[in-house]
């Protein structure tokens, strides 16, 4: 594809005996455009139509700023927790043999399969002051449900499989011989893990972190039950969008959505840069 067209001139596609290109590409593009692209560009168009002054006023509104801060802050914390525990879980699943390993492995996907509203009410019931976990934490003075900490808990649940499932396959591929070589050269286990294994896993861990973070920022269903939803305290940005919509304040809802999308894409960009850097550094 890279060399042939130079002679043949510009060509949209390589010739092939397989039929159906026009039909399948045409249908796919039409469906994609109708379902995804037109609605999404409607959002961009609406927020552009707002005008800079109005947009800015909504963006720096104290409630908007707080909601964004809470969404991005809790998602960051939850992703960080998942990086630590998700990597440990992946390690245990890959390296250790124990009865029920298959079940534990399958269970990791539960947050993908369990509807978020179900996760939300289950976690709220667990962490409420009279819940199974809540009543253990109460004497310690830790309140989880109806606080920002509750949001973090919900996002840890939602984000866990993203970290485990990105790190696990890379761990599988690690060649034992590298570790053995390090060991024969006199490295102890701690040095092998931090100096030999970790650099190889770093890009996967960063990817897992960013996937969990991105999912956490946009998460709604599991959070709204446990958050308490107090403006300025535990109100997440997606909820503020819903509230503005219910007030028929389409402008504010659109602006907050546009800011969220922009921040998410910015973050993706940064993560990609860090990825490239870490590949070069440890590659």
């Amino acid at each position: 594809m890279t060399t042939a067209p130079a002679k043949a001139g510009w060509r949209f596609r390589q010739p092939s005996v397989i039929p159906g290109f026009g039909l399948t590409l045409g249908f796919s593009l039409a469906y994609l455009t109708l379902i995804i692209l037109i609605p999404l560009s409607g959002l961009v168009w609406r927020s552009a139509a707002l005008g800079w002054a109005d947009f800015w006023a909504i963006a720096v509104d104290r409630r908007t700023l707080n909601a964004l801060k809470i969404s991005f802050g809790t998602a960051f914390l939850a992703a960080a927790v998942n990086v630590v525990f998700g990597t440990i879980v992946a390690w245990v699943l890959v390296r250790y043999r124990f009865p029920g390993r298959r079940i534990a492995d399958a269970m990791v996907d539960l947050p993908f399969a369990l509807p978020t509203a179900v996760a939300g009410i289950a976690l709220t019931t667990l962490y409420a002051p009279n819940g199974w976990i809540g009543q253990l934490l109460m004497p310690l003075g830790i309140k989880v449900a109806y606080t920002p900490l509750g949001i973090v808990i919900a996002l840890v649940f939602i984000g866990l499989p993203f970290v485990v499932r990105t790190v696990q396959p890379i761990m599988e591929e690690i060649d034992k011989e590298v570790e053995e070589a390090a060991a024969t050269l006199g490295a102890n286990r701690f040095q092998i893990i931090t100096r030999v294994l970790f650099p190889g896993l770093a890009p996967a861990i960063i990817t897992g972190f960013s996937l969990a973070f991105a999912r956490g920022v946009g998460e709604y269903g599991s959070v709204i039950f446990i958050a308490g939803n107090l403006p300025f305290k535990s109100e997440i940005a997606p909820l503020l969008i819903v509230i503005r919509l219910e007030e028929y304040n389409y402008e504010a809802a659109t602006a907050i959505a546009a800011i969220m999308l922009a921040l998410s894409f910015l973050m993706l960009l940064v993560v990609n840069l860090v990825q490239t850097w870490s590949r070069k550094r440890y590659g």
Partner: protein, 294 residues
């Protein structure tokens, strides 16, 4: 930006020599940490759903499930999945055929666009349809003049569900069909098969387990979607309430048994999905998982 790859893992066969594994106490601590974490974050929420649903006995449980609003929520959820999953299957097959079987300009960009819904908040997925079809929306006036109702009705719920489940089948099939190449189809065509026959008798049997895998994940999300559907549904009881939305309404009414009874059905669906997924990975892992991973 998308869900990470899900695959099954074969056990290591190498012997664990002391130099390349942790000492016994360290191993116990690491395993203990992982188990406690998994138990607290995954197992307990699942148990609490069934515990709360049955808190007042089996009679209260079945009674909670037999109410007319609950019944209609179940029917609506099944209807929405029955429309949106097949549409996304047709799209997924079609997109995979175009992308995997042909070389054309802009292919990578198209693949990225297909994954786009995964990086958008569910609430925003719903919002875009409100902006399009709502009373103040771009098409709102026109729709009203023609008496077409999309928002706060079943079509809106279906559209929002299609949006959030859009990539599942396609991203399962694209790498699979890319890996399998064109050889089989070219052979069929050279033996005189028509394009349809090549697809029906050669391609489809080759990808059937991967397709089933994608359908499974797509269906679980379609039936469980909350945020996007919540924005476009209008929460009209008995009419536009899906099961996850019904869970919310019952829960906010302090009807814990009712909320958790409906939630237990959804949790059951999640467990069935996980079991089928694991079975598929175990039996056909080579056919569906080996091709994954970018």
């Amino acid at each position: 930006m998308a869900d990470p790859e899900i695959k099954s893992y074969e056990p290591h066969h190498e012997s664990q020599s002391a130099a390349v594994t942790e000492s016994r106490p360290v191993r116990w601590v690491v395993m203990g940490t992982a188990f406690v974490f998994l138990a607290v974050f995954l197992l307990l929420p699942l148990i609490v759903v069934f515990h709360e649903a049955l808190a007042k006995g089996i009679g209260a449980y079945t009674e909670a499930l037999s109410g007319p609003d609950t019944r209609s929520a179940i029917r609506l959820t099944l209807l929405v999945a029955a429309i949106s999953v097949p549409l996304n299957v047709i799209f997924g097959i079609s997109a995979a055929w175009a992308i995997a079987k042909f070389e054309f300009k802009g292919k990578a960009f198209l693949t990225t666009l297909i994954d786009l819904p995964f990086s958008v908040s569910p609430v925003i997925s719903g919002l875009v349809y409100v902006l399009l079809f709502g009373a103040q929306g771009l098409l709102g006036e026109w729709l009203r003049a023609h008496g077409i109702v999309i928002l706060f009705a079943v079509p809106g719920i279906v559209l929002a569900t299609i949006f959030v489940t859009f990539p599942f089948v396609a991203r399962e099939l694209i790498p699979l069909m890319q890996e399998q190449g064109n050889g089989d189809e070219e052979a069929a065509l050279s033996l005189g098969a028509t394009g349809w026959q090549a697809f029906w008798y050669v391609t489809l049997p080759n990808v059937k387990w991967g397709l089933l895998y994608g359908v499974l994940l797509c269906n679980a999300r379609a039936m469980g979607e909350f945020g996007a559907v919540s924005v476009v549904s209008g929460h009209i009881r008995g009419l536009t309430n899906t099961m996850p939305l019904h869970v919310e309404i019952l829960y906010n009414e302090y009807n814990a048994v009712g909320a958790f009874a409906v939630a237990s059905l959804l949790a059951g669906l999640a467990l069935v999905t996980l079991v089928l997924k694991t079975l598929l990975e175990m039996r056909y892992g080579a056919e569906i998982a080996a091709t994954r991973g970018h």
